[in-house]
């Protein structure tokens, strides 16, 4: 095992511990409406993170299906873990001032520096180092206790909820699509439209596919796995496009779709309600000109930068 793999494996164990601590706080939370189901979900996640490397893939798969069933009950929820009260936060903000930003900024800066200057370790190990450094700085500046760290870590993970593992499940879905040959079916359909090997048409199809699928599903991450397998790889990457550039632009082309769709309720409909607008589509109306100009820009960028 390389140094990098070993460090990563240690970090996965730490992630697993964060999940298990979350389970402990859920079960200890007497006001939690469904403490047992919530605790079971996070314990299972902790097990896959810590032991995933040593148990058969099918065993991890079965655990994940069980977690999906738990999530389907909609009882993997947030309990009664609380942030400090407003008055305390205002006082601390006055006392600690802008030093509060330093640990937060350290996460991004340290991860970037490691990725840039220690390529043998890369961005992921960098993120792990960054988390450790930020935590140390955070404790120094706030004088928080270890139990506050554990408590607030569980509070945030319970708040994010089961959807925290959605990107990983979507990647797994992409793997199943590949194994079952879904990409070939979509590319067969698109191939009858794009007959000559036009790079521009392929780029337009990739960007449009991302945007339209995102608008239908309300989720650019889900669209990315499907459209990249069906259009991106067989039509854009296959013609020599840089996969990092084409992939990055495809995802943000999907975000143009997010700006336009009521399906992305969290970003467009709920905020309108929060702001008490009279027209529920007010946010989408404001975003539409930007979304459309950005989309055209994406096509141009992908065509000129990726090739």
């Amino acid at each position: 095992m390389t140094m990098k793999d070993m460090l990563l494996e240690i970090m996965y164990v730490l992630c697993g511990l964060v999940a298990i601590i979350t389970a402990v706080y859920a079960i200890k939370d007497h006001e939690h409406p469904s403490a047992k189901i919530t605790a079971l979900f996070w314990t299972l996640l902790g097990i896959v993170f810590i032991f995933g490397k040593y148990i058969p893939g099918s065993a991890s798969g079965i655990i994940l299906v069980a977690m999906a069933l738990l999530a389907a009950t909609k009882k993997v929820t947030f309990g009664s873990l609380k942030n400090s009260d407003e008055k305390f936060r205002q006082e601390k903000a006055k006392a600690i001032q802008n030093r509060l930003f330093i640990p937060a900024l350290a996460i991004g800066v340290v991860a970037f520096l490691v990725a840039q200057f220690v390529p043998s370790l890369g961005a992921l190990v960098g993120l792990g180092f960054a988390a450790v450094i930020a935590t140390v700085l955070g404790v120094i500046f706030t004088k928080a206790t270890a139990s506050e760290l554990a408590y607030d870590g569980s509070r945030l993970l319970q708040q994010v909820g089961p959807s925290s593992i959605l990107p990983q499940l979507l990647a797994a879905l992409g793997a199943l699509f590949t194994a079952a040959g879904v990409g070939e079916v979509i590319s067969g359909g698109i191939g009858s439209v794009i007959t000559d090997n036009s790079k521009l048409l392929a780029v337009i199809a990739y960007c449009a596919g991302m945007t339209i699928f995102t608008m239908i599903m309300g989720n650019a991450f889900a669209a990315f796995a499907v459209i990249t397998a069906g259009i991106g790889v067989p039509f854009v990457m296959s013609q020599g496009a840089d996969p990092a550039i084409a992939g990055a632009l495809a995802l943000t082309a999907g975000y143009c779709g997010t700006l336009l769709t009521p399906m992305a309720a969290n970003f467009n409909i709920v905020p309108a309600a929060v702001l008490e607008t009279r027209n529920p589509y007010r946010v989408i109306i404001a975003q539409a000109p930007i979304a459309l100009s950005l989309w055209v820009t994406h096509v141009a960028l992908m065509y000129f930068l990726a090739f």
Binding site: G108, A144, P167, A171, A175, T178, I216, A248, P271
Partner: protein, 230 residues
């Protein structure tokens, strides 16, 4: 065509707002079955892929420190900073917020939110600035400002986050391409996300500038009206 059943399940499941994880797993199992795999093979693909992509969830390590920073007033301090600005227009408030939000998400600082920032801080500041320079601004303009205020959060959040090397989006791109047989580095994906972040800021700035123009046009028109009335 039958192989597309997974996509159909995702579309229907997301539209009907069933639990996302359950929908994705169901779509995966259905796709595997029509693709001729048995259940154990399907579980194996799901489990193996999940274990291989655990790096996508490394953000778990950052939750404790973010949690204590929030406990000790991170948001309050950000709010204090923004509200210490003076002499601003609605468009400038929104431009500054978009910039702050873009930079914050590029650095993986989870600082923002419609509930946390737009409703209590940014929208009142933008409307206050507009009303201050033109008392004639009414409900119609207030409604429009609300739309742009909510949008500023989305621009910064969406188009800044992939500049961070270990963001969920970047790792999704790396992981999905890897499953499809193409290896790319997170750093290259993050760098490729920089142009869109910058262009988003420029486009949103133009949109806010036009908003300011419109708000001052209301001013000119309503002035003549009020002068005639007076």
């Amino acid at each position: 065509m039958l192989k597309l059943i997974g996509i159909l399940i995702i579309v229907i499941g997301f539209i009907r707002k069933y639990d996302t994880l359950a929908v994705v797993i169901t779509a995966g199992i259905a796709t595997g079955l029509v693709g001729g795999m048995n259940l154990m093979q399907i579980f194996d693909v799901i489990g193996t892929s999940f274990v291989k992509t655990r790096y996508m969830s490394l953000f778990l390590l950052t939750l404790p420190v973010i949690g204590i920073l929030e406990r000790y007033g991170l948001r309050e301090q950000a709010a204090n900073l923004i509200s210490s600005m003076k002499k601003v227009t609605a468009g400038r408030v929104l431009s500054i917020y978009t910039l702050v939000r873009l930079v914050a998400s590029a650095l993986s600082v989870r600082l923002g939110g419609h509930v946390q920032f737009i409703r209590p801080l940014i929208n009142p500041m933008a409307f206050g600035a507009a009303k201050n320079s033109n008392p004639m601004i009414g409900e119609v303009e207030e409604e429009v400002i609300k739309g742009h205020a909510a949008a500023s959060e989305n621009y910064g959040n969406f188009f800044g986050q992939n500049v961070f090397v270990a963001s969920a989006g970047v790792l999704l791109i790396v992981g999905t391409l890897e499953e499809l047989g193409t290896v790319v580095s997170p750093l290259d994906v993050a760098k490729a996300s920089v142009p869109v972040a910058i262009i988003t800021f420029i486009y949103s700035g133009v949109s806010y500038w036009r908003l300011d123009q419109k708000l001052s046009a209301v001013k000119a028109k309503s002035k003549t009206v009020s002068e005639k009335g007076a």
